[in-house]
Chain length 342, copies 2
């Protein structure tokens, strides 16, 4: 454990807590970016009764639609201390809500980083949340996938594989879990459907976002991790620091050249309990290789391995865990060290 | 036209413009409310290839899910001038994005009312946006409906019935339309799917929202109008003023007793060009009846008919029209007159 690093964190975190009063906002707003117009033809009209007992209306589903756009909400501070806006990209089956108030009702990372002096852009990727999704199979080719409670409980390492049985059995958590398990059902309400085969359009929209916002600090979670790496390779001059929160494994890591990322500050953050799951052991191996390749390309890449720093019990959703502020504080300290704070 | 009323508006609007600097936020956050757990069984497992060229994963779609919850995002001011928070409910096929930055990139009503001193709660109703939606036909019984460009152009009175032909023909707008037609495609990106048969669960979630937030000013657009009236009847002590923006017609208006709304300030706002559309003439008639019945029940009900005030060309989406600040200013003046501002 690096004691001086931990000590510095304690100071910063208490400073932040002290300034947890109001923050001045210059503008709050949103926009959609990306997307294309699609024309559907040849679908049958249907009689639809919109109100129970009402008169049916003939609905013609043919015509022009927009599809594949992304949603971005921003909160711009009047006096940011950070040099660049912070973009926050969520993981699979989730939306930007990941970074808002935590399922236990306590403030999430959106507000933490606002109070820490960052203007913040939280997005819903193509197909998720306010980005909207398109008819299938006419526009999106696959059917939507919904995450079960069992998958979330085990995949997100709240409990070990096999610990979620069924609706009538209380699932078993890791004894030291930091996830607020009494808020697990509240977390499940945040889930949204996902599709397959939409990776390329998602990355295209993210690249458009970087080009629109300009120089940024980019933070991405899980499935958003490979998207963030690819978008950074395609808009390298836009990304001034890259934070990967338990990025997914990706076959593409091995294919890409990272030469353009020389000198880029990259922080990978990893929680606990992945050693208990064969799937996570495999994922972590690809991420360790990613780190190795980033270092070979002379990116300024660092692994923040929480258990190695003496912080135990964090789930895959550590921005919602009970010690989320502590982890955010470590990231804020790293951002300070790599020159992202004025 | 009531000249003294218009004069007062001009003063207020310029005061607001003058104070269009930063505003102090005490908390920004969100929550999901309502919803229930559903267990699905007996569905076949499928092999899903998440990444092109990757190894298929066996996906079991059976298990526990949450369905029918609603999403609410709030921005609480450090020093609100309004006595109660402002809840903003959207219309059909849309989400809370209705009130955010306008399709033309200019500030929307969320920010207008924040700057005017209101803490603001913008929600995505059940099934829309970040509220998420549930599998059909297993949980939601109908298929989703998507709005075409033609429907939006004509139903929202940007142009007359029949003015949208097809993808290759520029649609014809009302000559005096206030809708920023160059931003119409951007507006279409805000659309989300809707279902039928979900009215009761939507109202149930809205009632829960009122009970959670407490005394509020409630603003609702279009399809949200009947939901707001019903929710107000079910949580009367929570609603201190009710603003209905071109509420939909509803068979229920005739059924409900409004006795409990005695003394409640109610403002109905109506745009222009509805006389050109048989469908809108019918809807407006039900809304005039609603106003009449509210007055009979001795609610403090008022119609803000924009053309009657000399303000021409507003569409159904007047919170996005070029004169949206002017209309918001009229609403703010009414809120002041009925005692909602400190």
């Amino acid at each position: 454990m690096n004691r001086s690093f931990i000590g510095m964190v304690a100071v910063t975190t208490s400073l932040l807590a002290a300034s947890a009063a109001a923050f001045e906002v210059e503008e709050i707003g949103s926009f959609h970016i990306g997307g294309r117009q699609v024309t559907l033809t040849g679908l049958p009209s249907k009689d639809v009764t919109f109100v129970a007992g009402g008169v049916p209306t003939r609905v013609d589903p043919n015509g022009e639609f927009f599809a594949e756009q992304m949603y971005v909400q921003f909160v711009r501070l009047a006096k940011p201390r950070a040099r660049f806006p912070l973009l926050m990209w969520h993981g699979g089956g989730l939306s930007g809500v990941t970074y808002e108030t935590k399922p236990d009702g306590k403030p999430g990372w959106q507000q933490f980083f606002l109070r820490a002096g960052h203007s913040v852009y939280v997005s819903d990727a193509v197909e998720r949340g306010r980005a909207s999704w398109a008819r299938f199979p006419e526009i999106f080719k696959s059917e939507p996938l919904f995450r079960t409670k069992k998958e979330a409980w085990e995949l997100f390492r709240i409990g070990p594989d096999g610990s979620y049985k069924d609706a009538s059995t209380k699932p078993i958590a890791h004894p030291d879990t930091r996830f607020p398990i009494e808020a697990f059902d509240q977390f499940m309400k945040q889930g949204v459907a996902r599709w397959i085969g939409t990776d390329d359009i998602t990355v295209a929209a993210y690249v458009q976002l970087l080009n629109r916002v300009g120089p940024s600090v980019l933070m991405a979670h899980s499935q958003g991790g490979p998207f963030a790496v690819e978008a950074t390779l395609k808009a390298t001059d836009r990304v001034r620091a890259l934070i990967l929160l338990e990025p997914s494994g990706s076959a593409n890591y091995g294919r890409w050249s990272f030469a353009a990322l020389k000198g880029l500050p990259v922080l990978i953050v990893y929680g606990d309990r992945w050693k208990d799951s064969p799937r996570w052991v495999k994922t972590r191996a690809t991420v360790d290789q990613l780190l190795q390749r980033l270092r070979e390309a002379e990116a300024n890449a660092e692994m923040l391995d929480l258990p190695a720093r003496g912080i135990a019990g964090n789930s895959h959703m550590f921005m919602m865990d009970t010690n989320s502020d502590q982890i955010a504080g470590l990231i804020q300290d790293w951002l300070t060290r790599v020159g992202m704070i004025r």
